[in-house]
Amino acid sequence: MMAQRSAGQGDQRGIRTVPYDLVRELAIAAAVSLVLILALAVAFSSPDVPSVTIQSWSKSDPVDFVTTANDELAGASATANYGPPYNNGSNAVQSIGPVSPQAWGGVHATVDQPHDFVINPLKQAAGNDSKLGDDVNVYESASAGQRAKWHDAYADALQKATVDGSQLTVATGDYGPVPEMLNRLLQLAQTGALDGLLISSNHFYQTDYTKPLLFMNDGGYLAGLAGDQHLTGSQWGMMNETGLYPGQTWLWLYTLWYQLPPFNTAWASVTDLLVVLMMVVLTLLLALVPFVPGLRDIPRWIPVYRLIWRRYYREA
């Protein structure tokens, strides 16, 4: 605010002061920012990479899609063994001593990947397809050991699968009803129906993409796209944006730790938790700068303020 006196330097209780209209500065800065934002938006628009969906995945890489679906049924996917908040697995749970926030949160967004990703969508499609209904019944009534044999054999065969258009060709073998079920799932996926089935919920707005994202993340297609666009954790991905657009450069300090040993080597299994704790410590240090000897002396060692108020110090 403008001081209640004439413009120019003054003297208050022995301390020289300079009047400054902060409101005017903020107003000008906001106006200039608005003009710049509008002009840049008109000139460059915004990133507009098409969304990756189950449909685009199954069309672009049907072998990866079917292999992943087979893993989901076999309980061999990353989601199957993830842990909280989706299930009781432990592969993704990060703990340092007694500190394990992920476990503290518990399982509160249950994902039953064989049923949620494969069997339930097939049962819904089986309403008009009695053969598919029979296949699902045969699969569900088989023993766990028998199903595991089918999945292992089919996973091996899929490594040599060929694609003709949208059709998958796999060497004949003893796979039980698995190929018929997964071929039908592939058809559902390629028409876009599976996208809709995976985000269906009891809410009015269907905005919960947890299941399709987990399903896609279990395959190699999404990770490949992310790697191509430098969006993965080991590529400073947090900072990057698609296309030629600049990204979130202010996240450099968060993603920096993921690039450095031992965070990405010996401590890789708990990196996320370590980075969170590291940023908590650094944020506390920033908040407590006035009380931390050494840190609070930096302005005296690097007197940038003398450059800002150079006229004052020239005259003083």
Partner: protein, 51 residues
Amino acid sequence: MDQPAGYLHAGFILISWPNLFLIGIMLVIFALALLLPFPGHAADDQTEKKS
């Protein structure tokens, strides 16, 4: 703008040219904010001298 960006790779640092360009602009604006005189100070000086 949807073309893939180029990246500078030096040791563990991997940064896109658009990000580097943006950081450069921010540094230039910071330097200008330090070096350019406060707007209105010249006018204040004139007022002070007249009074």
